[in-house]
Protein backbone atom coordinates (compact mmCIF):
# COMPACT_ATOMS: atom_id res chain seq x y z
CA UNK A 1 0.00 0.00 0.00
CA UNK A 2 1.01 3.62 -0.31
CA UNK A 3 -0.59 6.87 0.74
CA UNK A 4 -0.71 10.08 -1.28
CA UNK A 5 -2.64 13.32 -1.00
CA UNK A 6 -4.57 13.85 -4.25
CA UNK A 7 -3.16 16.94 -6.02
CA UNK A 8 -6.64 18.04 -7.16
CA UNK A 9 -9.00 16.65 -4.52
CA UNK A 10 -6.72 17.19 -1.49
CA UNK A 11 -8.04 13.84 -0.32
CA UNK A 12 -5.77 11.28 1.33
CA UNK A 13 -5.67 8.35 -1.07
CA UNK A 14 -4.43 4.93 -0.03
CA UNK A 15 -3.76 2.62 -2.95
CA UNK A 16 -2.57 -0.90 -3.38
CA UNK A 17 0.97 -0.40 -4.67
CA UNK A 18 0.30 -2.53 -7.72
CA UNK A 19 0.23 -1.56 -11.40
CA UNK A 20 -3.13 -2.55 -12.89
CA UNK A 21 -1.31 -3.73 -16.03
CA UNK A 22 1.11 -6.40 -14.89
CA UNK A 23 1.45 -5.87 -11.16
CA UNK A 24 4.75 -4.12 -10.51
CA UNK A 25 4.87 -1.50 -7.76
CA UNK A 26 4.22 2.05 -8.97
CA UNK A 27 5.57 3.93 -5.92
CA UNK A 28 9.17 3.01 -5.16
CA UNK A 29 10.19 5.79 -2.78
CA UNK A 30 9.57 5.68 0.99
CA UNK A 31 8.44 9.34 1.03
CA UNK A 32 8.35 12.49 -1.08
CA UNK A 33 6.38 14.40 -3.66
CA UNK A 34 5.31 13.16 -7.07
CA UNK A 35 3.04 14.48 -9.81
CA UNK A 36 2.59 11.04 -11.28
CA UNK A 37 3.29 7.42 -10.48
CA UNK A 38 4.84 5.77 -13.46
CA UNK A 39 5.40 2.02 -13.49
CA UNK A 40 8.93 1.51 -14.78
CA UNK A 41 8.10 -1.90 -16.28
CA UNK A 42 5.88 -0.81 -19.23
CA UNK A 43 5.53 2.87 -18.30
CA UNK A 44 1.82 2.94 -17.46
CA UNK A 45 1.34 6.18 -15.56
CA UNK A 46 -1.17 7.13 -12.86
CA UNK A 47 -1.92 10.49 -11.26
CA UNK A 48 -2.18 11.16 -7.53
CA UNK A 49 -5.94 10.42 -7.66
CA UNK A 50 -5.14 6.98 -9.04
CA UNK A 51 -6.37 7.66 -12.57
CA UNK A 52 -4.58 5.95 -15.45
CA UNK A 53 -3.13 8.82 -17.49
CA UNK A 54 -0.71 7.27 -19.89
CA UNK A 55 -0.18 4.02 -21.77
CA UNK A 56 2.63 3.76 -24.32
CA UNK A 57 1.40 2.62 -27.79
CA UNK A 58 -2.20 2.82 -26.71
CA UNK A 59 -3.36 2.27 -30.32
CA UNK A 60 -2.45 -1.39 -29.93
CA UNK A 61 -5.57 -1.82 -27.76
CA UNK A 62 -7.84 -0.59 -30.58
CA UNK A 63 -9.73 1.85 -28.36
CA UNK A 64 -11.19 -0.98 -26.28
CA UNK A 65 -9.35 -0.21 -23.07
CA UNK A 66 -11.53 0.98 -20.14
CA UNK A 67 -9.17 3.45 -18.47
CA UNK A 68 -11.46 4.05 -15.49
CA UNK A 69 -11.50 0.33 -14.70
CA UNK A 70 -7.73 0.33 -14.75
CA UNK A 71 -7.28 3.03 -12.10
CA UNK A 72 -5.06 2.22 -9.14
CA UNK A 73 -7.04 0.09 -6.72
CA UNK A 74 -7.85 1.99 -3.54
CA UNK A 75 -7.78 0.11 -0.27
CA UNK A 76 -11.39 -0.81 0.59
CA UNK A 77 -11.87 1.80 3.33
CA UNK A 78 -9.81 4.80 4.40
CA UNK A 79 -10.78 7.27 7.11
CA UNK A 80 -8.83 9.72 9.24
CA UNK A 81 -9.18 10.84 12.80
CA UNK A 82 -7.21 13.94 13.83
CA UNK A 83 -4.33 13.14 11.52
CA UNK A 84 -4.25 9.39 12.09
CA UNK A 85 -5.12 7.66 8.81
CA UNK A 86 -6.69 4.23 9.15
CA UNK A 87 -7.06 1.75 6.29
CA UNK A 88 -9.12 -1.42 6.20
CA UNK A 89 -9.43 -4.19 3.65
CA UNK A 90 -13.01 -4.79 4.84
CA UNK A 91 -15.47 -2.77 2.69
CA UNK A 92 -18.26 -3.37 5.22
CA UNK A 93 -16.37 -2.24 8.31
CA UNK A 94 -18.17 0.29 10.54
CA UNK A 95 -17.22 3.97 10.33
CA UNK A 96 -13.96 4.93 12.02
CA UNK A 97 -15.36 6.87 14.97
CA UNK A 98 -17.65 3.95 15.89
CA UNK A 99 -14.77 1.55 15.40
CA UNK A 100 -12.46 3.53 17.71
CA UNK A 101 -15.13 3.48 20.46
CA UNK A 102 -13.60 4.49 23.82
CA UNK A 103 -10.14 4.93 22.26
CA UNK A 104 -11.24 8.30 20.84
CA UNK A 105 -10.95 9.93 24.25
CA UNK A 106 -7.34 8.79 24.54
CA UNK A 107 -6.29 9.91 21.05
CA UNK A 108 -7.85 13.29 21.91
CA UNK A 109 -5.76 13.51 25.09
CA UNK A 110 -2.60 13.08 23.01
CA UNK A 111 -3.51 15.54 20.27
CA UNK A 112 -5.03 18.14 22.63
CA UNK A 113 -1.93 18.21 24.83
CA UNK A 114 -0.44 20.88 22.59
CA UNK A 115 -2.20 23.99 21.34
CA UNK A 116 -0.10 23.80 18.18
CA UNK A 117 0.43 20.91 15.76
CA UNK A 118 1.91 17.51 16.42
CA UNK A 119 4.53 16.09 14.09
CA UNK A 120 6.29 12.79 13.48
CA UNK A 121 9.98 13.33 14.22
CA UNK A 122 12.46 12.31 11.51
CA UNK A 123 13.93 8.85 12.11
CA UNK A 124 11.98 5.58 12.04
CA UNK A 125 12.46 2.49 14.17
CA UNK A 126 11.98 -0.48 11.86
CA UNK A 127 12.80 -3.70 13.63
CA UNK A 128 11.57 -7.24 13.77
CA UNK A 129 10.55 -9.75 16.42
CA UNK A 130 10.53 -13.49 15.91
CA UNK A 131 7.28 -13.95 17.76
CA UNK A 132 3.55 -13.93 17.07
CA UNK A 133 2.22 -10.40 16.54
CA UNK A 134 -0.36 -10.76 19.31
CA UNK A 135 2.43 -10.99 21.85
CA UNK A 136 3.37 -7.38 21.10
CA UNK A 137 -0.26 -6.29 21.41
CA UNK A 138 -0.14 -7.78 24.92
CA UNK A 139 3.33 -6.49 25.78
CA UNK A 140 2.60 -2.89 24.72
CA UNK A 141 -0.08 -2.63 27.41
CA UNK A 142 1.48 -4.94 30.01
CA UNK A 143 2.17 -3.10 33.26
CA UNK A 144 2.98 -6.28 35.17
CA UNK A 145 6.28 -6.98 33.36
CA UNK A 146 7.82 -3.55 33.90
CA UNK A 147 9.57 -4.24 37.20
CA UNK A 148 10.85 -7.71 36.39
CA UNK A 149 11.77 -7.29 32.72
CA UNK A 150 13.00 -3.70 32.83
CA UNK A 151 15.12 -3.74 35.96
CA UNK A 152 18.10 -2.32 34.04
CA UNK A 153 15.99 0.57 32.76
CA UNK A 154 14.87 1.54 36.27
CA UNK A 155 18.49 1.31 37.40
CA UNK A 156 19.40 3.63 34.54
CA UNK A 157 16.75 6.15 35.68
CA UNK A 158 18.00 5.84 39.24
CA UNK A 159 21.58 6.54 38.09
CA UNK A 160 20.33 9.71 36.38
CA UNK A 161 18.69 10.88 39.59
CA UNK A 162 15.05 10.01 38.97
CA UNK A 163 13.09 9.46 42.18
CA UNK A 164 11.50 6.03 41.85
CA UNK A 165 9.72 6.18 45.21
CA UNK A 166 6.23 6.87 43.84
CA UNK A 167 6.25 3.71 41.75
CA UNK A 168 3.73 2.91 39.03
CA UNK A 169 0.08 3.22 40.05
CA UNK A 170 -3.02 3.29 37.93
CA UNK A 171 -5.91 1.52 36.30
CA UNK A 172 -6.60 -0.42 33.13
CA UNK A 173 -9.72 0.05 31.01
CA UNK A 174 -11.51 -1.98 28.36
CA UNK A 175 -12.39 0.64 25.71
CA UNK A 176 -14.63 -1.57 23.60
CA UNK A 177 -14.02 -3.24 20.21
CA UNK A 178 -10.82 -4.83 21.53
CA UNK A 179 -9.16 -1.51 22.40
CA UNK A 180 -7.67 -1.05 25.85
CA UNK A 181 -5.60 1.38 27.87
CA UNK A 182 -3.51 1.62 31.00
CA UNK A 183 -3.60 4.98 32.71
CA UNK A 184 -1.09 5.51 35.49
CA UNK A 185 1.36 7.69 37.35
CA UNK A 186 5.04 6.82 37.01
CA UNK A 187 8.34 8.16 38.34
CA UNK A 188 9.60 9.53 35.03
CA UNK A 189 9.05 13.10 33.83
CA UNK A 190 6.86 14.07 30.89
CA UNK A 191 7.84 16.82 28.45
CA UNK A 192 4.11 17.70 28.60
CA UNK A 193 4.09 18.53 31.44
CA UNK A 194 5.61 16.90 34.51
CA UNK A 195 8.99 18.17 35.61
CA UNK A 196 11.69 15.99 37.14
CA UNK A 197 15.31 16.83 38.02
CA UNK A 198 16.57 15.22 34.79
CA UNK A 199 14.91 18.03 32.81
CA UNK A 200 17.17 20.58 34.46
CA UNK A 201 16.32 23.61 36.57
CA UNK A 202 16.14 25.81 33.48
CA UNK A 203 13.12 23.80 32.21
CA UNK A 204 11.22 23.98 35.45
CA UNK A 205 9.49 27.26 34.71
CA UNK A 206 8.60 26.31 31.15
CA UNK A 207 7.04 23.02 32.24
CA UNK A 208 5.08 24.77 35.01
CA UNK A 209 3.83 27.25 32.38
CA UNK A 210 2.79 24.40 30.03
CA UNK A 211 1.00 22.63 32.85
CA UNK A 212 -0.87 25.80 33.85
CA UNK A 213 -1.75 26.36 30.21
CA UNK A 214 -3.21 22.85 29.89
CA UNK A 215 -5.32 23.41 33.00
CA UNK A 216 -6.59 26.77 31.76
CA UNK A 217 -7.53 25.26 28.40
CA UNK A 218 -8.95 21.94 29.57
CA UNK A 219 -9.87 22.44 33.22
CA UNK A 220 -8.18 21.01 36.30
CA UNK A 221 -9.27 17.40 35.81
CA UNK A 222 -8.48 16.93 32.11
CA UNK A 223 -5.49 19.28 32.16
CA UNK A 224 -3.71 17.60 35.06
CA UNK A 225 -4.54 14.22 33.56
CA UNK A 226 -2.73 15.24 30.35
CA UNK A 227 0.22 16.61 32.29
CA UNK A 228 0.74 14.04 35.01
CA UNK A 229 -0.50 10.65 33.86
CA UNK A 230 0.80 8.12 31.37
CA UNK A 231 -1.30 6.16 28.94
CA UNK A 232 -0.47 2.95 27.09
CA UNK A 233 -3.17 2.69 24.43
CA UNK A 234 -3.81 -0.31 22.20
CA UNK A 235 -6.11 0.28 19.26
CA UNK A 236 -7.22 -3.14 18.13
CA UNK A 237 -5.66 -4.95 16.48
CA UNK A 238 -2.18 -3.57 15.83
CA UNK A 239 -1.79 0.12 16.64
CA UNK A 240 -0.16 1.34 19.83
CA UNK A 241 -0.03 4.99 20.92
CA UNK A 242 1.87 5.14 24.17
CA UNK A 243 1.93 8.59 25.76
CA UNK A 244 4.54 8.09 28.45
CA UNK A 245 7.97 9.78 28.87
CA UNK A 246 7.70 10.33 25.11
CA UNK A 247 4.95 9.44 22.64
CA UNK A 248 5.34 6.44 20.36
CA UNK A 249 3.12 5.52 17.45
CA UNK A 250 3.82 1.86 16.80
CA UNK A 251 2.32 -0.64 14.43
CA UNK A 252 3.22 -4.25 13.73
CA UNK A 253 2.48 -6.61 10.87
CA UNK A 254 2.60 -10.38 11.05
CA UNK A 255 4.84 -11.95 8.42
CA UNK A 256 4.44 -15.50 9.69
CA UNK A 257 2.92 -17.11 12.79
CA UNK A 258 6.26 -16.58 14.53
CA UNK A 259 7.48 -13.30 13.08
CA UNK A 260 6.36 -9.68 12.92
CA UNK A 261 7.76 -6.46 11.52
CA UNK A 262 7.50 -3.52 13.90
CA UNK A 263 7.51 0.10 12.75
CA UNK A 264 7.57 2.88 15.32
CA UNK A 265 7.63 6.66 15.10
CA UNK A 266 8.02 9.43 17.65
CA UNK A 267 5.20 11.96 17.92
CA UNK A 268 5.87 15.40 19.42
CA UNK A 269 4.64 19.00 19.37
CA UNK A 270 6.07 20.71 16.29
CA UNK A 271 7.23 23.88 18.09
CA UNK A 272 8.69 22.30 21.19
CA UNK A 273 11.44 24.05 23.14
CA UNK A 274 14.84 22.62 22.12
CA UNK A 275 15.81 21.42 25.60
CA UNK A 276 12.46 19.64 26.08
CA UNK A 277 12.77 18.09 22.63
CA UNK A 278 16.20 16.81 23.64
CA UNK A 279 14.80 15.19 26.79
CA UNK A 280 11.95 13.69 24.78
CA UNK A 281 14.34 12.25 22.19
CA UNK A 282 16.56 10.81 24.95
CA UNK A 283 13.58 9.28 26.73
CA UNK A 284 12.28 7.69 23.56
CA UNK A 285 15.50 6.09 22.43
CA UNK A 286 16.50 4.84 25.88
CA UNK A 287 13.12 3.25 26.71
CA UNK A 288 11.16 2.77 23.48
CA UNK A 289 13.96 2.35 20.94
CA UNK A 290 15.29 -1.04 19.75
CA UNK A 291 18.80 -0.04 20.86
CA UNK A 292 17.76 1.30 24.25
CA UNK A 293 17.78 0.07 27.83
CA UNK A 294 14.37 -1.68 27.71
CA UNK A 295 12.92 -2.63 24.31
CA UNK A 296 15.58 -5.27 23.49
CA UNK A 297 14.47 -7.06 26.67
CA UNK A 298 10.84 -6.96 25.50
CA UNK A 299 11.99 -8.62 22.28
CA UNK A 300 13.75 -11.26 24.32
CA UNK A 301 10.60 -11.87 26.39
CA UNK A 302 8.36 -12.22 23.33
CA UNK A 303 10.76 -14.49 21.48
CA UNK A 304 11.20 -16.47 24.66
CA UNK A 305 7.40 -17.01 24.86
CA UNK A 306 7.32 -18.05 21.21
CA UNK A 307 10.12 -20.51 21.87
CA UNK A 308 8.39 -21.78 25.01
CA UNK A 309 5.11 -22.38 23.15
CA UNK A 310 6.76 -24.78 20.69
CA UNK A 311 7.32 -27.32 23.43
CA UNK A 312 3.61 -28.08 23.31
CA UNK A 313 3.08 -29.07 26.93
CA UNK A 314 1.39 -25.83 28.00
CA UNK A 315 -1.58 -25.04 25.77
CA UNK A 316 -2.95 -21.92 27.46
CA UNK A 317 -1.64 -18.68 28.90
CA UNK A 318 -3.08 -17.39 32.16
CA UNK A 319 -4.18 -13.75 31.95
CA UNK A 320 -6.64 -13.76 34.84
CA UNK A 321 -4.67 -11.26 36.92
CA UNK A 322 -6.96 -8.66 38.48
CA UNK A 323 -10.24 -10.51 37.88
CA UNK A 324 -10.87 -10.42 41.61
CA UNK A 325 -10.49 -6.64 41.94
CA UNK A 326 -10.89 -3.36 40.07
CA UNK A 327 -8.22 -3.87 37.43
CA UNK A 328 -4.98 -2.02 38.22
CA UNK A 329 -2.42 -0.93 35.63
CA UNK A 330 -0.36 -4.01 36.41
CA UNK A 331 -3.31 -6.38 35.96
CA UNK A 332 -4.36 -8.16 32.77
CA UNK A 333 -7.90 -6.91 32.13
CA UNK A 334 -6.64 -4.95 29.10
CA UNK A 335 -5.27 -8.13 27.54
CA UNK A 336 -8.55 -9.90 28.12
CA UNK A 337 -10.28 -7.06 26.22
CA UNK A 338 -7.97 -7.66 23.26
CA UNK A 339 -8.33 -11.43 23.30
CA UNK A 340 -12.13 -11.40 23.71
CA UNK A 341 -12.44 -9.29 20.59
CA UNK A 342 -9.98 -11.47 18.74
CA UNK A 343 -11.85 -14.60 19.79
CA UNK A 344 -15.19 -13.05 18.78
CA UNK A 345 -13.86 -12.18 15.32
CA UNK A 346 -11.97 -15.39 14.68
CA UNK A 347 -14.51 -17.83 16.10
CA UNK A 348 -13.29 -21.40 16.16
CA UNK A 349 -10.82 -20.59 13.36
CA UNK A 350 -8.75 -18.81 16.02
CA UNK A 351 -7.95 -22.09 17.70
CA UNK A 352 -6.62 -23.71 14.53
CA UNK A 353 -6.39 -27.40 13.87
CA UNK A 354 -5.37 -29.41 16.86
CA UNK A 355 -2.27 -31.29 15.92
CA UNK A 356 -2.17 -34.98 16.65
CA UNK A 357 0.89 -35.88 18.62
Amino acid sequence: MFMVRGAKSGRINVFHNTCTHRGAVVCRQPAGNAKAFSCFYHAWTFDSEGRLMGIPDRDAYGGELDLAALSLRPVARVESYRGFVFASFDPDIEDLVSYLAGAIEYLDLVIDSTDGEMEIIKGTNEYCIEANWKLLAENSIDGYHAVSTHDTYFKYLLALGTDLAGGVNGTSYDLGNGHAVLEYRAPWGRPIAKWEPLFGEDSREEIARMRADLISRHGEVRGSRMADTNRNLLIYPNLVVNDIMAITVRTFMPLAPNRMDVTAWELAPRDELAQLRQRRLDSFLTFLGPAGFATPDDLEALESCQQGFTSGGVEWNDISRGMARTPAANDEAQMRAFWRRWSQQMGTAGYGERESR
Partner: protein, 201 residues
Amino acid sequence: MTTTTGAPASPAARPAEAAQTAQPAQPTWPTWPVRPDEVVDLDALGRSRIEDFLCLEAQLLDAWDLDTWLTLFAPEASYVVPCNDSPDGDPARDLVLIDDDELRLRLRVERLNSRRAHREYPHSRTNHQFSNVVVGVREGDELPVVASFTVWRFRNGKASYYVGKYHYRFVAIDGRLRIRSKRVVLDMTTLRPAGDLAIIL
Protein backbone atom coordinates in the same frame (compact mmCIF):
# COMPACT_ATOMS: atom_id res chain seq x y z
CA MET B 1 6.26 -0.81 43.49
CA THR B 2 9.81 -1.70 44.28
CA THR B 3 12.50 -1.57 41.67
CA THR B 4 15.32 -2.79 43.82
CA THR B 5 14.82 -6.45 43.08
CA GLY B 6 18.53 -6.96 42.55
CA ALA B 7 21.78 -5.05 42.60
CA PRO B 8 23.71 -4.50 39.39
CA ALA B 9 26.42 -7.07 38.88
CA SER B 10 29.43 -6.00 40.85
CA PRO B 11 32.85 -6.33 39.20
CA ALA B 12 33.51 -9.27 41.49
CA ALA B 13 30.44 -11.07 40.19
CA ARG B 14 31.42 -10.80 36.56
CA PRO B 15 33.92 -13.65 36.22
CA ALA B 16 31.15 -16.12 37.10
CA GLU B 17 28.93 -14.68 34.37
CA ALA B 18 31.82 -14.70 31.96
CA ALA B 19 32.42 -18.36 32.63
CA GLN B 20 28.82 -19.18 31.82
CA THR B 21 28.94 -17.47 28.45
CA ALA B 22 32.20 -19.16 27.41
CA GLN B 23 33.95 -15.98 26.39
CA PRO B 24 37.17 -16.02 24.43
CA ALA B 25 40.33 -15.07 26.28
CA GLN B 26 41.03 -11.35 26.58
CA PRO B 27 43.83 -9.88 24.50
CA THR B 28 47.11 -9.42 26.32
CA TRP B 29 48.34 -5.84 26.05
CA PRO B 30 52.05 -6.35 25.41
CA THR B 31 51.45 -8.27 22.19
CA TRP B 32 49.59 -5.33 20.68
CA PRO B 33 51.40 -2.83 18.44
CA VAL B 34 49.33 0.01 19.90
CA ARG B 35 48.71 -0.18 23.62
CA PRO B 36 46.14 2.14 25.13
CA ASP B 37 48.85 3.60 27.38
CA GLU B 38 51.38 4.21 24.58
CA VAL B 39 52.23 7.83 23.78
CA VAL B 40 51.54 8.59 20.13
CA ASP B 41 51.95 11.56 17.81
CA LEU B 42 48.57 12.18 16.17
CA ASP B 43 50.23 13.80 13.13
CA ALA B 44 52.59 10.94 12.51
CA LEU B 45 50.08 8.19 13.07
CA GLY B 46 49.79 6.12 9.89
CA ARG B 47 46.88 3.97 8.79
CA SER B 48 48.35 0.73 10.05
CA ARG B 49 48.61 2.10 13.60
CA ILE B 50 44.97 3.21 13.46
CA GLU B 51 44.06 -0.23 12.18
CA ASP B 52 45.91 -1.79 15.11
CA PHE B 53 43.80 0.36 17.43
CA LEU B 54 40.54 -0.58 15.67
CA CYS B 55 41.56 -4.21 15.82
CA LEU B 56 42.12 -3.90 19.56
CA GLU B 57 38.70 -2.29 19.94
CA ALA B 58 37.07 -5.09 17.94
CA GLN B 59 38.77 -7.73 20.06
CA LEU B 60 37.61 -6.08 23.29
CA LEU B 61 34.02 -5.94 22.04
CA ASP B 62 34.11 -9.56 20.86
CA ALA B 63 35.55 -10.57 24.24
CA TRP B 64 32.77 -8.58 26.02
CA ASP B 65 35.49 -6.77 27.96
CA LEU B 66 33.40 -3.62 27.90
CA ASP B 67 35.04 -2.01 30.92
CA THR B 68 38.37 -1.99 29.11
CA TRP B 69 36.63 -0.92 25.90
CA LEU B 70 35.33 2.17 27.73
CA THR B 71 38.90 3.20 28.51
CA LEU B 72 39.52 3.64 24.77
CA PHE B 73 37.27 6.72 24.83
CA ALA B 74 38.18 10.30 25.68
CA PRO B 75 36.37 11.76 28.72
CA GLU B 76 33.88 13.70 26.56
CA ALA B 77 32.98 10.54 24.64
CA SER B 78 30.08 10.22 22.25
CA TYR B 79 28.66 7.12 20.58
CA VAL B 80 25.85 7.69 18.08
CA VAL B 81 23.90 5.39 15.77
CA PRO B 82 21.29 7.11 13.55
CA CYS B 83 18.10 5.36 12.47
CA ASN B 84 18.41 3.25 9.33
CA ASP B 85 16.15 5.54 7.28
CA SER B 86 17.98 8.76 8.20
CA PRO B 87 21.74 8.17 8.09
CA ASP B 88 22.29 11.93 8.41
CA GLY B 89 20.16 12.02 11.59
CA ASP B 90 21.13 14.68 14.13
CA PRO B 91 20.62 13.50 17.73
CA ALA B 92 19.68 17.05 18.80
CA ARG B 93 16.72 17.16 16.40
CA ASP B 94 15.97 13.70 15.07
CA LEU B 95 15.19 10.31 16.52
CA VAL B 96 18.30 8.13 16.49
CA LEU B 97 18.93 4.59 17.71
CA ILE B 98 21.76 5.48 20.08
CA ASP B 99 22.92 8.85 21.42
CA ASP B 100 25.33 8.10 24.26
CA ASP B 101 27.43 10.66 26.02
CA GLU B 102 30.09 9.54 28.47
CA LEU B 103 27.58 8.86 31.26
CA ARG B 104 25.05 6.97 29.16
CA LEU B 105 27.82 4.96 27.54
CA ARG B 106 29.04 3.90 30.98
CA LEU B 107 25.46 3.03 32.02
CA ARG B 108 25.03 1.04 28.78
CA VAL B 109 28.13 -0.95 29.68
CA GLU B 110 26.83 -1.46 33.23
CA ARG B 111 23.58 -2.77 31.79
CA LEU B 112 25.32 -5.14 29.39
CA ASN B 113 27.55 -6.43 32.20
CA SER B 114 24.49 -7.27 34.28
CA ARG B 115 22.52 -10.50 34.23
CA ARG B 116 19.34 -8.48 33.88
CA ALA B 117 19.99 -7.22 30.37
CA HIS B 118 17.87 -10.15 29.25
CA ARG B 119 18.47 -9.69 25.53
CA GLU B 120 22.19 -10.09 26.15
CA TYR B 121 22.20 -12.63 28.95
CA PRO B 122 23.78 -14.87 28.02
CA HIS B 123 25.81 -12.68 25.69
CA SER B 124 25.77 -13.07 21.93
CA ARG B 125 28.92 -14.23 20.25
CA THR B 126 30.01 -11.40 18.01
CA ASN B 127 32.63 -10.81 15.35
CA HIS B 128 33.47 -7.17 14.70
CA GLN B 129 35.20 -6.83 11.32
CA PHE B 130 36.40 -3.64 9.66
CA SER B 131 38.07 -2.71 6.38
CA ASN B 132 38.52 0.18 3.91
CA VAL B 133 40.11 2.32 6.60
CA VAL B 134 40.62 5.92 5.53
CA VAL B 135 42.57 8.26 7.81
CA GLY B 136 41.46 11.82 7.16
CA VAL B 137 43.19 15.15 7.50
CA ARG B 138 43.54 16.43 11.03
CA GLU B 139 40.89 19.00 12.03
CA GLY B 140 41.92 20.95 15.11
CA ASP B 141 42.80 18.39 17.77
CA GLU B 142 40.82 15.64 16.05
CA LEU B 143 41.83 13.01 13.54
CA PRO B 144 38.85 11.77 11.51
CA VAL B 145 38.87 8.13 10.46
CA VAL B 146 36.27 6.29 8.39
CA ALA B 147 36.04 2.52 8.00
CA SER B 148 33.56 0.00 6.68
CA PHE B 149 32.38 -2.64 9.10
CA THR B 150 30.45 -5.86 9.38
CA VAL B 151 29.39 -7.08 12.79
CA TRP B 152 28.11 -10.64 13.04
CA ARG B 153 25.95 -11.63 15.99
CA PHE B 154 25.10 -15.19 16.92
CA ARG B 155 22.79 -16.19 19.75
CA ASN B 156 20.25 -18.85 20.54
CA GLY B 157 20.59 -20.46 17.11
CA LYS B 158 20.04 -17.19 15.30
CA ALA B 159 22.55 -15.37 13.09
CA SER B 160 22.26 -11.67 12.36
CA TYR B 161 24.43 -8.97 10.91
CA TYR B 162 25.07 -5.25 10.92
CA VAL B 163 26.78 -3.55 7.97
CA GLY B 164 27.78 0.08 7.67
CA LYS B 165 30.47 2.67 8.21
CA TYR B 166 32.31 3.80 11.31
CA HIS B 167 33.02 7.52 11.54
CA TYR B 168 35.60 8.09 14.27
CA ARG B 169 37.11 11.25 15.68
CA PHE B 170 40.37 10.40 17.44
CA VAL B 171 42.21 12.68 19.85
CA ALA B 172 45.42 12.42 21.83
CA ILE B 173 44.83 12.78 25.56
CA ASP B 174 48.24 13.31 27.20
CA GLY B 175 49.64 11.72 24.08
CA ARG B 176 47.41 8.64 24.36
CA LEU B 177 45.17 7.80 21.42
CA ARG B 178 41.50 7.94 22.39
CA ILE B 179 38.11 7.95 20.64
CA ARG B 180 36.28 11.22 21.12
CA SER B 181 33.33 10.22 19.00
CA LYS B 182 32.16 7.16 17.17
CA ARG B 183 29.23 7.54 14.79
CA VAL B 184 27.98 4.30 13.32
CA VAL B 185 25.96 4.65 10.12
CA LEU B 186 24.10 1.52 9.13
CA ASP B 187 23.77 0.56 5.46
CA MET B 188 20.86 -1.81 6.06
CA THR B 189 17.69 0.04 5.04
CA THR B 190 15.96 -1.26 8.19
CA LEU B 191 17.09 -2.90 11.42
CA ARG B 192 14.94 -5.93 10.60
CA PRO B 193 17.73 -8.28 9.45
CA ALA B 194 19.18 -7.95 12.95
CA GLY B 195 15.97 -7.71 15.00
CA ASP B 196 17.26 -5.15 17.48
CA LEU B 197 20.52 -3.45 18.45
CA ALA B 198 21.24 -4.62 21.98
CA ILE B 199 24.97 -5.13 21.35
CA ILE B 200 27.62 -2.47 20.80
CA LEU B 201 28.77 -2.04 17.21
